[in-house]
């Protein structure tokens, strides 16, 4: 056990920071104001992701056979996530493609799917949305009902998705459907071009800012067999593995830490940081972020050692939830003007993120259920 970074890892972080300092525009904080799903940020991601790919940084953490760098480990992936997410992630949904969509295509995709999708993701030219939640399948995701019916040469999809981030500008959706069977059996994944006829995307206004949520309706949408990822009815196993990545994929501990540091810098400039209660709250929030970081690192360690995903992921995710909430609460209580027009965009985005962290990627309560069942082996109700 040791807690240091290798020279190679430090150099990688420096390279990322240099790239960001050279690449991000001076008004980045304003662009980031409404979060990674906003029109402004997705438009910017169309510029940013290809530049990042050209710099060899977007998918450096991938396996070598898919263009990653030799010697890169899950630690490099985490460093990338920390440096991106902490500033509001200029990749926008580009992070999903690189983080968990591409890896599931590497593992379960056909040679043709790999040839078609991986190159596009690696070059930063496509953005994805995640078609998981439905009106009647939220925290109980496996009860989803969007139907994929087998027809000649493919499937016809009918149903709807909701709370879909990034859908307004994304090119593809990673879509969970039901083919046959109930609950976890009978779930099938499709990689769907969002421009196909029969797909209707409607924004849902939210308190978090524009672009955050959408409904996506599928009416007799034909997709060819080639769009199916993995075997029919075996999608749950794939999505479970993907969710384990997704739960710590966004380095919220680092966003929480920088939110506190940014907020305190502003409070100090305004001479409002001498109150011991404010200082205590700031330090406590930092402690939560630091603990979350270590619990996330324990999951990364598991990946380095190729261990099966476990309740460690849910433990880390719950700690991220606590850290993110503490940072958001600090901003709202001690620097409320940052949530008004003219305030710091990154602080506003971080606050909004704190409002969703307990809901996204499996609710906080689902994480507690998983810790109880899989981590602590507590008895289940008869």
């Amino acid at each position: 056990m040791e807690f240091g970074w290798s020279e190679q890892q430090l150099a990688f972080r420096r390279k990322l920071l240099d790239f960001l300092d050279e690449t991000l525009p001076p008004d980045w904080s304003d662009i980031a104001r409404d979060g990674p799903g906003s029109h402004a940020q997705m438009d910017y991601a169309r510029e940013f992701c290809p530049k990042m790919a050209q710099a060899g940084l977007l998918t450096r953490h991938w396996p070598v056979e898919y263009g990653g760098e030799a010697g890169a480990t899950p630690w490099e992936h985490m460093i990338l996530s920390e440096e991106m997410w902490s500033i509001g992630d200029p990749r926008s949904s580009g992070y999903m493609g690189a983080n968990w969509i591409a890896p599931t295509i590497m593992k379960y995709g056909t040679p043709e799917q790999k040839a078609f999708h991986l190159g596009k993701i690696a070059s930063g030219e496509v953005l994805w949305a995640q078609g998981f939640s439905e009106p009647s399948a939220g925290s109980d995701l496996a009860s989803l009902r969007t139907q994929a019916t087998r027809v000649q040469g493919g499937y016809v999809i009918n149903g709807s998705k909701i709370w879909t981030s990034y859908a307004h500008s994304a090119d593809y959706v990673y879509l969970l459907t039901r083919t046959e069977g109930a609950a976890h059996a009978g779930i099938t994944i499709f990689l769907v071009d969002l421009k196909l006829p029969g797909i209707d995307i409607r924004p849902i206004n939210s308190i978090l800012g524009e672009g955050e949520f959408h409904e996506v309706f599928f009416t007799d949408v034909f997709v060819p067999d080639e769009a199916r990822l993995g075997e029919e009815g075996r999608g749950w196993a794939i999505v479970r593995a993907a969710l384990h990545s997704e739960r710590i994929g966004a380095a919220r501990h680092e966003m929480a830490r920088r939110t506190i540091l940014k907020a305190v810098a502003e409070l100090r400039r305004r001479k409002r940081f001498s109150d011991p209660v404010v200082r205590m709250r700031a330090a406590t929030a930092l402690a939560l972020a630091r603990a979350a970081r270590l619990l996330v690192y324990a999951v990364v360690e598991g990946r380095v050692k190729a261990r099966d995903p476990s309740a460690e992921t849910s433990i880390a995710r719950y700690a991220l939830y606590e850290a993110d909430k503490a940072a958001a609460a600090f901003v709202a209580e001690f620097l409320p003007e940052s949530l008004l027009d003219g305030g710091d965009g990154q602080l506003r985005a971080a606050f909004a993120s704190g409002a969703t962290v307990g809901l996204a990627a499996g609710s906080a309560e689902v994480q507690l259920n998983l810790i109880a069942r899989d981590g602590l082996s507590l008895p289940m109700k008869a």
């Binding site: 430090l10 810098a265 619990l295 690192y297 008895p379």
Partner: protein
């Protein structure tokens, strides 16, 4: 970064688990603070107090000693004698070693201590403690407490060099965090055992979601506190030590409340081991001035008094971990 124990660390933990095995069965004589001189002596004989002085080992290994020993219901003092003192002095001091921040105030382990670090103004002096110089105190905390009957003669003691004084509080915070994490872990394990077997309303208590969720939260906090304490031991910086103490003290209260709640009236009895850990946590919550002092120690590291704030606006990448 390597969060698994290496083979040396695993061997250390296994040796400690073997050593503490006879002390895992809770005492039945209804004592509140079951200090075990034999366990203390075994740790000394096995040179576990010298672990961080061994080549290739350091304060992290000392924190592992605190971690493992702290899970036993029987008590030995490890925080100061294994972690703090050898790091400061480069040699061991026979324990228990107490810390007396104010001569007139009660101190943990002082009633059984062989040595004590005594603070006098800015100075810290290591003194031998004679049994008849101390008045034992009983009370609500599951540690042996004592108080000097009269101010000890510090001129006969060994003053800490001035450059070690800031390390003194830093290391105490690491020890506090490691000890608290250990108590949280042990109390949690005892509670999981209980709610798995205790049935009410036709179900094991642990099958109820209201119980599961609170236990799961405590598992997050116990694990987080342990990793933070170990990181603080390894890094050796004042900020990480303060953050580790903050985290442990922030969540100790929730652990005490929840774990007692789920053990019911049985958990309040002296026959049940739960209080050995929860009432240690209660003491540790107030140690070193409590949460607000630990938090201010962290704040002072990140935002030192008198340092000007950075001019705004800052680049988006300000505050990367590179400078952390």
């Amino acid at each position: 970064m390597e969060l698994d124990l290496d083979p040396d660390q695993q061997a250390l933990v296994q040796a400690l688990e073997h050593l503490t095995q006879p002390f895992l069965e809770a005492p039945r004589q209804g004592v509140f603070a079951p200090y075990a001189p034999k366990l203390q002596a075994l740790l000394r004989e096995g040179e576990f107090d010298a672990v961080q002085l061994q080549p290739g080992l350091g304060p992290l290994e000392a924190a592992l000693v605190v971690d493992v020993v702290g899970r036993a219901p029987y008590l030995a003092e490890t925080g100061v004698s294994v972690l703090v003192a050898p790091a400061l002095l480069g040699r061991t001091v026979p324990g228990p070693v107490a810390v007396v921040d104010e001569v007139a105030r009660p101190a943990r382990f002082l009633s059984v201590a062989r040595h004590a670090f005594v603070r006098r103004g800015a100075d810290v002096v290591l003194v031998e403690v004679a049994a008849d110089a101390v008045e034992p105190l009983s009370g609500m905390f599951a540690y042996p407490y004592g108080r000097f009957k009269a101010a000890p003669d510090l001129t006969a003691g060994e003053p800490l060099p001035a450059d070690k004084r800031t390390d003194f509080d830093r290391l105490r915070r690491v020890a506090l965090a490691a000890e608290a994490a250990s108590a949280m872990t042990a109390a949690l394990e005892a509670t999981i055992e209980y709610v798995t077997h205790r049935r009410q309303f036709g179900q094991p208590l642990g099958a109820f979601q209201a119980v599961q969720h609170r236990i799961s939260r405590n598992a997050v906090h116990a694990r987080g506190a342990r990793l933070l304490a170990l990181e603080a031991a390894w890094k050796g910086d004042a900020l990480t030590a303060a953050l580790a103490a903050v985290y442990a003290q922030r969540f100790a209260g929730e652990a005490i409340e929840d774990l007692h709640q789920f053990n019911g009236a049985l958990g309040i009895t002296l026959d049940h081991p739960l209080h050995y850990w929860t009432y240690r946590l209660l003491a540790l919550q107030g140690e070193l001035g409590g949460l607000h002092v630990s938090a201010e120690a962290a704040a002072a590291e990140v935002w030192p008094e008198g340092a000007p704030p950075p001019p705004g606006p800052e680049p988006a990448t300000a505050y990367s971990q590179l400078g952390w």
